[in-house]
Symmetry: C2
Subunit: 465 residues, 2 copies
């Protein structure tokens, strides 16, 4: 029994809270019934459940109302997102079996399939995966062996061993407090998105792109808005369109140059403008520069702009052919690194010490031979694709060519036919929903092996015409 | 302009949705104002912001109302939790500077501090961290070196290399499709919680416990309900209380036996009842059995119960003294492993191949010497703590003793005083808010080193009396 006036007040307030909560639920239920009806109409009209424009309108309304009533806009948007997600789920559920829209396949999905075929005894030519066939630096191997002899296989600072952080910091001309070593570049992306973007907020990805940005955003319940680029425009993003997509719910732009899959490198003027845009709107700029060493024209890192909301992601995987060591890193302000380190502490504690030491040793190696080799292979690959009369933009960098199939061609059809014949390539749609007529061919195998695989591809492309 | 009846219907429905959304926001804002008032009263009365009982009541009300109106209970609870979290945040904000409640420190936080002190030249006796000082199996070292010679440093199947998965599967008498290799046991916990629990849903942790379950739940926006156990009851959970905590929002019970930090192993009858409870309520049972090899009385794995919602987490870190290799694994149904593999693919692609091969080789080693050593050290440690007249329960397993400080003792005070004197121990409150009068002492160093550290601890404990 409430004994004091304070406790009586508390009881009364709690009663009111219960009543309001009940009202909220009633209204939410009303909203769900309406959403279901919308779903039925959309289904009848054959319209997709998701409608960016309508969402955007309601988001603006919520922002306005929250602002007027002194409610936290972030909280209001988060709440809205819970409502929108449930509406979408309800509408999808009510739909008759979707018109055979196959689930999106990524290059990694095909790689896993190819691995399974190999396990069952098949021989596969791997043109699907960004995994160089040339060896990792010998130094990395020695370091791996030495680490064991020296009993260096213990928990390390969450951000990585000091020597490796210092070496990376030196390379980037920053202090070591601005570096975190991660289990692959992927976890750097994950940690950045998970620590800097909240559920219900938005990131902008420029597609085609490595799918990790979208996957990480999906994972934490953030929304990905897509700026599409086209072969016709040489994969150059339309910056006016980019600007028009930014709302107060937008928190991050994800850049991926040299681009995977197109090999595009942005010119300095375009980069200047993107950085200015991010600065102007206070957005995080996540720049995945994993392929920066494989750039065949001048490449300016976002790092050079000294933007305090920039996060640069890089990796040992491509430059040093160390994919399976799973070591990458992030460079950002000390403050952002601290936030990202919290995610790393929750997820993985720290990166395996032996592979950190191998990465440190690899920094002493000269990757220029790898880069020259890749350049030559890409030239070879481009030549072969031209012989097939496929359209594509010559890559400025990275390890891939991203050709468009002849009219009527569907990526997954070609991917599956080729896999049956022992050649793995990546479907274009894995890099963006709008690219079902593209495929990505990797130049990570030697010319002889590529030649074999591409001959089979040429045959299938001819048959499909 | 809407051209068909369908489009006109759509327009009308969207208008209604906007209106209802606006109503919801208004009500939510009302609720926030009330929550603030509650916060003020609580602050006046000196009551904590969080009140499990009141929350529970409102949760029951929401479940009832959702059930009656045909609303998804899951969704209703998710929504409620978004509201509750924001209310809490608002109330905490409104509080005058909290009465010096220091931010929670975990054993890892102290470890990082100790590492920094070492980097600055100090010598530290590490009694804070669960990292054995004895070496990893020699086989692991050879495998590491061989992996490089054989160029085995590539992307692997997301779930791990087939040989390692098969070896783990064989050990657990299941098919390899029920195993996933993870970067440390921690990521197995992360993947389980992230894939099986949704934001706003609840897990139950039995504290004191390793903080990872709560950290991972926090990370994805799920709530952790805590079943407290006490020294007085020998750290035995009260199963009636456990049952009373389960609501339709509860999705998982996290078990951690042999327990870190207390060393408790549950008897078979208690385990039977917990499994029956989980089954009866359809809850996931996450069983972190990382210390199962260090059990000094019969230990029954949750695995033995054949429960299809059971997820067993284990690791090479403790058994084989391979903490810094960062390799652990999960065993669960093929279906759950598939879900967890999706999280792993998003976060890390796969585990470093060299360390997977090292783990495979380690499985050929016999860990029984390690276990005997640990048993002896724990006996030694227990003896020393008895000499300090500290109360504790003799551990049934694991690598720690968890004593209670003398009346008035505060964990962080002792931890900090000892750190100044070159001895690192873990604060009890890192394993649960209610354990500020406990500390965790690790038996991972040899007796001579422990003796040195414990003498300093004895001195500080004496001074504090």
């Amino acid at each position: 029994m409430p004994s004091s006036q304070g406790e009586k007040d508390l009881e009364a307030l709690r009663g009111q809270i219960r009543a309001v909560t009940s009202d909220i639920l009633k209204k939410v239920q009303e909203r769900m019934v309406l959403a279901e009806q919308v779903g039925e109409v959309k289904s009848r009209l054959g319209i997709d459940v998701k409608d960016e424009k309508v969402e955007q309108e309601i988001r603006q309304m919520v922002i306005k109302q929250a602002g007027e009533t002194g409610m936290s806009i972030e909280f209001a948007l988060r709440l809205l997102n819970v409502l929108l997600s449930e509406s979408e789920a309800v509408q999808e559920q009510k739909r008759p079996q979707q018109n055979n829209k196959a689930p999106r396949q990524t290059h990694l999905g095909i790689f896993q399939k190819a691995k399974q075929l190999e396990a069952s005894g098949r021989r596969i030519i791997h043109l699907e995966v960004g995994e160089p066939d040339y060896p990792a630096p010998a130094q990395a191997g020695s370091a791996l062996a030495e680490s064991f002899a020296q009993k260096k296989y213990h928990y390390t600072d969450t951000r990585g061993i000091p020597q490796l952080r210092e070496a990376i910091a030196k390379k980037n001309r920053v202090g070591e407090e601005r570096v975190m070593v991660t289990p692959g570049g992927r976890f750097a992306v994950f940690a950045a998105i998970a620590s800097l973007v909240r559920p219900g907020e938005e990131i902008i990805a420029i597609e085609p792109a490595w799918p990790a940005y979208r996957e990480c955003a999906d994972f934490i319940g953030a929304r990905t808005k897509v700026l599409k680029t086209t072969l016709e425009s040489g994969w150059t993003p339309d910056l006016k369109e980019l600007e028009s997509m930014i709302t107060s719910g937008t928190k991050m732009i994800a850049l991926n140059y040299p681009n995977n899959p197109t090999g595009k490198v942005l010119d300095k003027k375009t980069m200047d403008r993107i950085v200015a845009l991010a600065k102007g709107h206070g957005l995080y700029l996540l720049s995945d520069e994993v392929y920066s060493d494989y750039s065949f024209k001048p490449f300016e890192s976002v790092h050079a702009y000294g933007y305090d909301k920039g996060v640069i992601v890089s990796s040992f995987s491509k430059t040093y052919a160390m994919t399976g060591f799973r070591v990458g890193y992030a460079v950002a302000s000390a403050d952002l690194i601290k936030k990202m380190a919290k995610v790393q502490a929750v997820g993985v504690t720290s990166v395996a010490e032996p592979v950190q030491l191998a990465a440190l040793a690899a920094l002493g190696a000269d990757p220029s031979r790898n880069v020259e080799l890749m350049k030559r292979r890409l030239r070879f690959l481009s030549g072969k694709l031209k012989e097939m009369s496929l359209r594509f933009v010559e890559p400025d960098g990275a390890m891939y060519v991203y050709p468009e199939l002849h009219s009527g061609g569907e990526d997954m059809q070609l991917v599956e036919r080729l896999l049956e014949r022992g050649v793995a390539i990546a479907p274009g749609s894995g890099f963006g929903d709008s690219y079902r007529r593209f495929v990505r061919i990797s130049a990570c195998r030697n010319e002889k092996e590529m030649e074999k695989g591409l001959a089979i591809m040429a045959d299938e492309v001819r048959k499909a015409r």
